[in-house]
Amino acid sequence: MNRRITTAITAVAALGLVVSACSTAAASPTPSSGASPSAVASAAPSASAAPSASVGGSITVWTMEDSKAFTTLASQFTSATGIQVQVDQIPWANVNDKLTTAVASGNGPDVVQTGLTLLPAFESAGALLDLGPQLAAHPGLASANFLDGLSSDKLSWNGKILSVPWIADTRVLFYRTDILAKAGITAPPTTWTEFHADAAKLVASGSSKYGLYIPQWDQALPLEFAWEAGGNVVDSNGKVTFDTPAFRTAADFYLSFYKDKLVPTASDFDQLQGFISGAAPMVISGPYLAGSIKQQAPQLDGKWSVAVLPKDLSSTSSLQGSNMAVWSTSKNVDASLKFLEYLDQPATQLQWYKLTGELPTVKAALADSSMTSDPLVNVYGQQLQDANLLPLVANWNQIATDLLNSLNSIALQGADETTTLSKLNETVAGLQK
């Protein structure tokens, strides 16, 4: 038995050596080797102006992005400044595990990517360095360079600036031009009234099973409607509140689709499948969906497009994506900030977009002709000009869960809207005492 197990292990190890030989040939250079930049078309972005400022040394970066792509940027930075960068990738689903153990032990990186939905957790942990005092010395990180929705007052947490913008994501209206045409709709809806009417027309004419798909897990959508109705979800004290007329209007609009049976009620309805099959030819989603549609349904080319969200008083959408931050106990603050400046140079932002399809947050990059010439990106860029962050409060995720549970219980279980919403308001107030 021992011999057989030894043989099996040897076989696995041998197989592993063969495969690793094949895969390392294709693998990127190790981050700290200072290897030459990979062959990417755009010019290598410049490092910070004063040559005497490059200090050498090294930093560690935690990111959820593909480490090979990220290392491409990091290597260029190293060639330009001599600062070594070690890139460690973390799976998206486990960021919280890494955060809690790092906070508990003090073993953190220097630079950390903070997805905007996770930013409140990082901030309430006190894990991030206040960059406010540092910004003057690093003009590349000045608030004015970035989208208005990410200005420093919007990112401020108890008066501190704990992260700087990096990449952007937003939500726009996806629609099937062919299916809308079948129902006699020649242009996407631009107002709330048109939106509802078009959805109803699609169902009534039999062109599709549903008018649109509302994901039951989407925290941003009710807020997008609230902002469009001219309201704020954060009051003057910085606390989240849904106890406003604008929010009530938004909730009514959200629920009207369910009332008129224009959206699916199944909790496992798949937005991509729904769009591809035509069962739900309209959906509010992000650029990631466009990528999936192109890859998994190339036969739909030319039969779908995106548009800015339909407007009530405005067509405000949500601003998602990731920021970058410096760990509070980092010993390499200056080098880290140089790296952040590098990441936020317009040329680097454009290079990253080419590598991964993730949108820049720097206004100069978004205005670049390479971005505006792509019709989809043009719409994203337009939408980004009118997009808000989800509230940066400590227990936002809990509040959002309660919000969705309330809306879903009204929509799917017939709960009474007024009582459910007032109970929600009580809960939300209680969570923020």
């Binding site: 919280n96 955060l99 809690t100 906070v103 508990a104 957790a121 309430s124 942990a125 006190g126 894990a127 699916p264 199944a266 909790s267 496992d268 309805f269 798949d270 499948q273 729904g274 099959s277 069962a279 227990n395 995720n397 809990q398 869960t401 549970n405 879903n408 219980s409 799917l412 279980q413």
Partner: protein, 312 residues
């Protein structure tokens, strides 16, 4: 002669085996030591820590800065018992245990006995098939079963539509979702238990079967009067561990339904994760974990007491 020297003289005259046995009293501690130490450090110590934490308001800001931690007494427990969702989760867990545990024991025992009937290569191959679910990663399982079960675009409803049957809300109907999720759990768990029973079946001497055959007992009779009684030690193991595992049922509801639709498949473990750990509310999560721990300990202790007579 003093007592001491009398004892010494007595010991001098001891046969070597008994002296060795006295030294051997240290042996079990030596054998048990390393494993026990590891389990205490990584298994029991955290439970003690959790008990202490459950009396505080520890959250992520408290992890970073001790000054943020405050003693709150039994507040976390009060909040737990006042939460309706907790009781729903408790009820769901009882349902899962009632469906899952007997099914697993019966199915794996039956399959193992069946697979043991023949030594042919065909039966050998069958064993590997049964073991496959146990070794497949949970991510793959969630993708596969999520796809099979999908109410709009899934394979099962597609097959039903081919037969002219209406679609089933496998994961969207509050009642059926419980069964679907439990089924995946059963599908996943039987593989390992079948293998354990197969190993256990090897310890039954062939003579017993032959003697019974000579006495005229048929196949079925032999299974019930010889095989099953002699597998008591393995049945006991499978029952206890399956019960402990299913009281902590987590993976399948988490990946298939995230506890939905609207808490219908939220088990206690999933409730603890969603209400506690996901939001870094460690004090609350520890309290809920302790409550679950006490429940599991009680159920297991009751089972052990029932078994004490058989001394297995």
């Amino acid at each position: 002669m003093t007592t001491r020297s009398a004892v010494a003289a007595y010991r001098e005259g001891e046969p070597p085996a008994r002296r060795r046995r006295r030294r051997a009293n240290v042996t079990p501690y030596l054998f048990v030591g390393p494993a026990f130490l590891a389990l205490m450090v990584f298994g029991v110590l955290p439970i003690v820590v959790a008990a202490v934490v459950s009396l505080t308001n520890l959250d992520i800001s408290g992890l970073a800065n001790r000054a943020n931690i405050h003693f709150v007494g039994l507040d976390n427990y009060a909040r737990l018992f006042a939460d309706g969702a907790f009781w729903v989760a408790l009820g769901n867990t009882i349902t899962f245990v009632a469906i899952g545990v007997p099914s697993i024991i019966v199915v794996s025992l039956a399959a193992a006995i069946g697979l043991n009937q023949s030594d042919s290569r065909f039966f050998h191959a069958l064993r590997t098939f049964y073991f496959l679910p146990a070794i497949t990663a949970i991510v793959a399982i969630s993708l596969i079963w999520g796809y099979l079960y999908n109410s709009q675009f899934g394979l099962l409803n597609y097959l039903l539509s081919l037969g002219g049957l209406p679609p089933v809300g496998w994961l969207t109907d509050p009642f059926i979702a419980k069964l679907s999720v439990a089924f995946v759990g059963i599908w996943r768990a039987t593989g390992l238990d079948i293998v354990i029973f197969l190993a256990a079946l090897q310890s039954i001497p062939r003579d017993y079967y032959e003697a019974a055959a000579i006495d005229g007992a048929g196949d079925i009779r032999r299974i019930f009067s010889i095989t099953i009684p002699l597998l008591r030690f393995a049945i006991f193991f499978v029952t206890i561990t399956t019960l402990i595992n299913w009281m902590q049922f987590f993976d399948e509801p988490y990946v298939l339904t995230a506890g939905g639709p609207i808490h219908a498949t939220t088990s206690i473990s999933l409730y603890i994760f969603q209400e506690g750990f996901q939001f870094n509310q460690f004090g609350f999560a520890s309290a809920a974990s302790l409550v679950l721990f006490v429940i599991i300990v009680s159920v297991t202790a009751a089972q052990l007491r029932l078994r004490r007579s058989s001394d297995v």
